[in-house]
Amino acid sequence: MLRFFRRNFAGYAFLSPWLIGFFLLAIGPILASLYLSFTKYNVVRPPQWIGLDNYFYMFQMDQRFWKALQVTFSFVVISVPLKLIFALGVAMALDKGIRAIGWYRALFYLPSILGGSIAVAILWRQLFNYDGVINSILRLFGGDGPYWLSDPKYSLWTLIVLAIWQFGSPMLIFLAGLRAIPQELYEAAEIDAAGPVRKFFAITVPLLAPVIFFNLVLQMIEAFKSFSGAFIISGGTGAPLDSLLFFTVYLYNEAFSFLRMGYASALAWVLLLIIALFTAIAFWTSKYWVHYENERG
């Protein structure tokens, strides 16, 4: 008994801040949120059990829920692949000892580190104004830019461009991955008379698959969670015409503008399940296209 205590004491002592946080701020809230999702709760009066009503309402009647899903999915499906393609392209251009790599790397990464800031969201709003920078550039080439911010057809693109602009961190991860590919493989391929395209698809892509997979999962989760950009650019509401109604923005408004905490909790759980589902799908399919060269324990 004494031995058992002594063996575990130090570990749990060091773990205790995290353990408290885990119960109070992670697992506790998740369970509480599950409970609240079966209630009607406006903070003022105690939660009132209504069973699955929140979920029935959500799936059967709530147009905005479906709109939010559609907006979020469009954002994820368009922005993540574009971002990754960009990141990989730049990483490949940076690979193999190009001069001034440090400068390029820093410049490309800078937007990612600023991307979550309100300053950048505010900037973005102005860039895409009707008489903002983007349209001025389009005019230089004789085009006529749309009302990016107020036309629901175009508004989402402002956020997609914002997301792609922040390709820095997947780029760095790709760069680290590319460095890990042995140079001899490319030399061997050259002797086997493989051209650049063939080398890319026969060597780079398969050997980089674990890294691509990692980036994909990470960026997907990030995209589902993104909030501040949409919140600021849409003025906090998802406008115009709910075309920027990201799931997180909708959830925030339900909870903190309309104090529908029960319903917002149900939304939160749906978000959690969607993210879990996408992660699971990514992991499940990964065994078909990701091959780890050496499985180390």
Binding site: R7, N8, G11, Y12, F14, L15, P17, W18, I20, F22, L24, L25, A26, P29, I30, S33, L36, V90, A93, L94, I98, R99, G102, A106, L107, Y109, L110, P111, S112, I113, S117, I118, A119, V120, I122, L123, W124, Q126, L127, V133, S136, L140, W165, S169, I173, L218, K225, F227, S228, G235, G236, T248, Y252, A255, F256, M261, A268, L272, I275, A276
Partner: protein
Amino acid sequence: MTEATITPAMLSTAEVARAYREAKAKRAKRAALLKHVFLIVTSLIMIYPLLWMLASSLKPDNQIFGDLGLWPREFQWQNYWAGWNALPVSFTTFFWNSTVVTVLSVIGNVISCSFAAYAFARLEFSGKTIWFALMMMTLMIPYHVVLIPQYLLFLNLGWVDTYLPLIVPRFLAGDAFFIFLMIQFFRQLPRELDEAAMIDGCSPFKIYWAIIMPLSLPAMATAAIFSFIWTWEDFLGPLVYLNDMEDYTVPLALRSFISSDGVSQYGPMFAMSILSILPIILFFVIFQRLIIRGIAMSGLK
């Protein structure tokens, strides 16, 4: 035989090889040049919006829109002065508030996450694998899912409209990313160091303090830097918990510029935006190497 005709067959192999090498070097040079052009153009596009914002922060309002130039015709420095005092509360307060929240959060994160990481990476205790798996799972949980119950918890504790909801979770190792980053680092330190220290009479805490910590300064610095940047930029937390403008952090104050009804003060707004990201840019310039290595190592955001 007065006329010497040189046939290809007469060229020595050395010459052929040299010609081949030269052609190859030329090709490589051209490829590098193309790459540089591509990279320069891309990085200019990347950086242009930020430079435009900087320029706009120094222009009069009527010259901001429709002007692509990066050099103001006249430098309107008073934008900064005007912006600093544009809101009912001065930005001195906002910067002070942000600094308090950020510094305390960084301290909390580094201490509590390194504790947890040390336990996971170095100590043996029953249930470790389960806790580790749960810790890794929390990496995936979106903040929005725990936001409402956390809000209700802090509301009941009477902590809304204080900084406690923003700071206390940082002391409870709320950010699993940092734990993960530190675990990765700790695992690279040889275990025999711990064992030598054990024989030298160190308690687990002394090993953490005298051996692991001093040897992990790069990891601690990386975590501190990211923690700084994320807390400084954090918007949702302050948005939910702070209602009184006196308590606003910088990002929240910035938002007041756009929500404050149509009064166009774009120059001052950009001026304050620039100031708000200045600490981050400074940090980035100073700690660039640590930041970039940190991402490559752990796949952070």
